[in-house]
């Protein structure tokens, strides 16, 4: 049971990495990125391609993350920046449809070109025993890297001028401009950051399980749930909800099977949306 | 005269901020009651509470003796309380006629027959003087015309009482004159009671039977226009704490 909880926490931290990206991108540009989970798959597949060409694993992963960031940059500058031209509700709708289309296109492309690709990383270490507890080093490593990434993000947002400016835009874009902040480059930066963190989540998932090309949609969905439950504008909320949902998901999957666990997660999400949307979002109706 | 609308110690808090504090008011049928006060005094909040946009934190509203506190906007409208908005919100992509028509189709004594609704709408459009613009889209009208359109749409719901939120601000002197005449006509010819927020003191002074003054969410004075004009407290608060001379 304790092992299940540890697995759940590790998985939950990955979800937080994904959810935080959704939160930041939505906070800055009001775009709900329905293609977010695909970045995780793209990154894992890129790393896989390099690894198959004989590139060293660590370097493959770094290259994968870099290219994922570049893809994020390209998409933001081309497609997403077109969405920013619209205002208010139209922008939100447009964002939903465009990223929905994007996710379909990426998903379909990957499924058609490399249907049999699977990414996973095996560590050359033995499982660690602490008392009666068996911990896989890959689980441990995945959790440590996730926490590290989230802490770094938090430090960046809290301590640097750029990070503060990002938080300022999320609260009131016009007001941030009145402090001298130019929002456009920061929106691009955040989109890239989101893509890379999603990519990292994909790589780390490869440590604890296997990344298949079809998994992007599930990642997106889980990330959305994390973001909604944790609050579309709150990073701490995201981490907390990620961990809780990760534990619930892992335990429910173990005892009830994968499909019912997803049904339970989604039902919980629906209930949360219906009971306290403004509390989570900080948005008034 | 009989009371048509009454507010009993209305209090409204937003978070820690008290927008209205124990405000009492009483409107007689057929009256024009002015509501004035500095920015942020809570005037529009009071209108929002009366018209059902949100419930008061405490206090009750009675319309024709019936407790209407907490009813939804469409229910309030169907009872015969209509309103206009400080920042106009006509249906921009609909014609003037369709805007007014929608009021006639859904307000109090709603007409379900399109033809009857058309007739009622046309006569109201004439009443406010928009007959030449009836087929224009609302977004193509000038600010003054849009304000008149909103007034017409509110009148089309056939109200017993009309809450007017700043009709005159931003108009030219000539338009101000016309609008004042129109407000008088709404009361005298249509028999609609009027509760009226306005910043332009001259207009309110000239037209209202009585005036209520709000400041920082509290009622600080109530009376006939000349009494208000000479009330030391009103002059002080409405025009600022200090004095030049």
């Amino acid at each position: 049971m304790l092992e299940l909880i540890i697995d759940g926490i590790t998985f939950g931290l990955l979800l937080s990495l994904l959810g935080v990206g959704i939160t930041l991108i939505f906070g800055l540009g009001e775009i709900l990125n329905l293609a977010h989970g695909e970045f995780a798959v793209i990154c894992a597949m890129l790393a896989l391609i390099f690894m198959e060409r004989g590139v060293n694993t660590l370097l493959s992963i770094i290259l994968g993350l870099l290219i994922t960031g570049l893809i994020g940059l390209a998409l933001e500058r081309s497609l997403i920046s077109l969405v920013y031209r619209a205002r208010g509700e139209t922008r939100i709708l447009l964002g939903i449809f465009i990223t929905f289309g994007l996710s379909l296109a990426i998903h379909s492309y990957l499924v058609n070109t490399i249907p049999k690709a699977f990414f996973s990383v095996k560590l050359p270490f033995e499982a660690i025993r602490i008392g009666g507890l068996i911990i896989r080093p890959s689980t441990l490593l995945s959790a440590v890297i996730s926490v590290l990434a989230l802490v770094l993000l938090e430090v960046f947002l809290k301590k640097t001028y750029t990070g503060k400016a990002i938080r300022a835009i999320a609260q009131d874009e016009m007001d941030a401009q009145l402090c001298g902040v130019n929002p456009a480059p920061l929106r691009t930066l955040v989109f890239i950051l989101g893509a890379v963190m999603a990519g990292l989540a994909g790589i780390l998932y490869g440590l604890i399980a296997t990344v298949a090309v079809i998994i992007g949609v599930d990642f997106t969905l889980l990330a959305l749930i994390v973001a909604i439950v944790g609050g579309v504008r709150s990073i701490y909320g995201n981490i907390l909800s990620g961990v809780i949902l990760g534990i619930v998901h892992t335990i429910a999957s173990f005892f009830l099977g994968a499909y019912l666990s997803l049904v339970i997660l989604l039902s919980v999400t629906i209930i949360i949306i219906l009971t306290r949307p403004e509390g989570i979002l900080g948005e008034k109706g | 005269m009989e009371t048509i609308l009454r507010g009993e110690s209305i209090t409204k808090k937003f978070g820690g901020f008290t927008a209205l504090k124990n405000v009492e008011f009483n409107i007689k049928r057929g009256e024009i009651l002015g509501l004035i006060g500095p920015n942020g005094a809570g005037k529009t909040t009071l209108f929002n509470i009366i018209s059902g946009a949100f419930p008061p934190t405490a206090g009750r509203i009675f319309f024709e003796g019936r407790d209407v506190t907490g009813l939804k906007p469409h229910q309030i409208c169907k009872l015969g309380i209509a309103r206009t908005f400080q920042i106009v919100r006509p249906f921009n992509n609909m014609s003037t006629l369709d805007n007014v028509l929608s009021g006639a189709l859904f307000g109090k004594d709603a007409v379900s027959d399109l033809k009857d609704a058309y007739e009622r709408s046309l006569s109201i459009i004439n009443f406010v003087g928009l007959e030449k613009k009836k087929n224009k889209l609302a977004k193509e009208l000038t600010l003054h015309e849009r304000k008149m359109l909103e007034l017409a749409r509110a009148l089309a719901t056939n109200p017993k009482i009309l809450l007017i939120d700043e009709l005159i601000a931003g108009l030219t002197p000539l338009e101000v004159q016309e609008t004042m005449r129109l407000i008088g006509k709404i009361r005298d010819e249509l028999g609609v009671t009027i509760f009226w927020i306005e910043h332009v003191m001259r207009a309110v002074m000239g037209l209202a039977d009585r005036i209520i003054v709000l400041a920082y969410g509290e009622k600080i004075a109530e009376g006939k226009p000349f009494e208000i004009a000479n009330d030391k407290r009103v002059i002080d608060v409405y025009l600022g704490g200090g004095l030049i001379e």
Partner: protein, 319 residues
């Protein structure tokens, strides 16, 4: 309804009725039938999204509910399909209304509507897969009860074709009546400004739920009809419906009657042309969705109108 509009509808009906003379091959007839299914789906989407701006990303589930109920219940209960068809439709309608009611009472923003409705869609999909002994999961269900059992001897595709155009035209006439009535006015006001609408006496929740009811009813009804027509259903059929409907809706233009008709036509044509490409079509639809939303948001009808000038003007809904 204006005279021109009636004449126009009679002409379109006549054209539809005569189409089988030219397209008599059963493959062609099947395409025509699919076209009408798509048209109906788009029409009902139009009612909910085009006319009241409620984002329902769960159309596939609403269709699927109608389909599965119509497929499963007749045999299990030993009841005629005729009786079950409206049961399925009403179930979809009930669920759609419920979603609409809670989200409009809670005044959910688009974001929450999107997540709420797509969660529902996923739950539906998962339940179909999970309830294997009832739904057959991935393998689907073969349906033995045909709604037109007595007529099966005749040309089945053709009989269905006339049944479908009868349904389509009945729907179009009702749709037209609604849009040009007091209800239609309420819809327009709600799209323009919900708050202003409520202050002139429009019960916004009521009209939103009404539109969700009508639209989900149609989804469920057509879903059931599709099950009987196709005699086989499986989960993947309901997976991409939302995307397809969105593409059709934007293709044609929202809030119009001609929009869905044209959109579904164009869509059926495109997907037929793309068929040889196999599964990659989803990629193309994804890209198409992006392009349409970025550059042709007003819809094909509006662009056509600009080109053809006044031709479509007389079709503009009166009022």
């Amino acid at each position: 309804m204006k005279k021109a509009s009636i004449v126009q509808k009679v002409i379109i009906l006549a054209v539809y009725a005569l189409l089988p003379i030219i397209f008599s091959h059963s493959y062609q007839l099947r395409l025509l039938n699919l076209l009408i299914f798509f048209t109906m789906f788009t029409l009902s989407s139009n009612i909910i999204f085009g006319h009241t701006r409620q984002l329902f990303l769960c159309q596939g589930a609403l269709v699927g509910i109608g389909s599965y109920i119509s497929a499963i219940l007749p045999e299990r209960l030993g009841v005629a399909p005729w009786i079950i068809l409206p049961v399925g439709a009403l179930t979809s309608a009930g669920i759609g209304s419920l979603i609409s009611a809670v989200s409009s009472i809670r005044r959910l923003s688009i974001i929450f509507m999107a997540v709420l409705t797509s969660s529902f869609q996923v739950i539906f999909g998962e339940l179909i897969l999970g309830l294997r002994h009832i739904t057959g999961a991935d393998e689907g269900i073969v349906i033995r009860s045909d709604i037109l059992r007595g007529l099966i001897g005749a040309n089945r595709e053709l009989v269905y074709y006339y049944l479908l155009i009868a349904t389509l035209f009945a729907t179009v006439i009702i749709y037209d009546k609604i849009v040009n009535s007091r209800v239609g006015v309420a819809f327009r006001c709600i799209v323009e400004d919900e708050i202003a609408a409520s202050f002139i006496g429009i019960n916004v929740v009521k009209y939103k739920v009404l539109s969700a009811f009508i639209s989900s009813f149609l989804f469920g009804f057509m879903g059931g009809l599709y099950a009987y027509y196709n005699l086989y259903i499986c989960p993947s059929m309901f997976q991409n419906i939302d995307v397809h409907i969105l593409v059709m809706l934007v293709f044609g233009g929202m809030g119009t009657l001609t929009g869905p008709l044209l959109g579904a036509g164009a869509f059926t044509l495109i997907s037929e042309l793309l068929r040889p490409l196999g599964p990659i079509t989803t990629l193309i639809f994804g890209i198409l969705l992006i392009i349409l939303f970025l550059f042709f948001r007003e819809g094909l009808v509006v662009h056509l109108k600009r080109i053809t000038g006044q031709f479509f003007k007389k079709h503009k809904l009166c009022f």
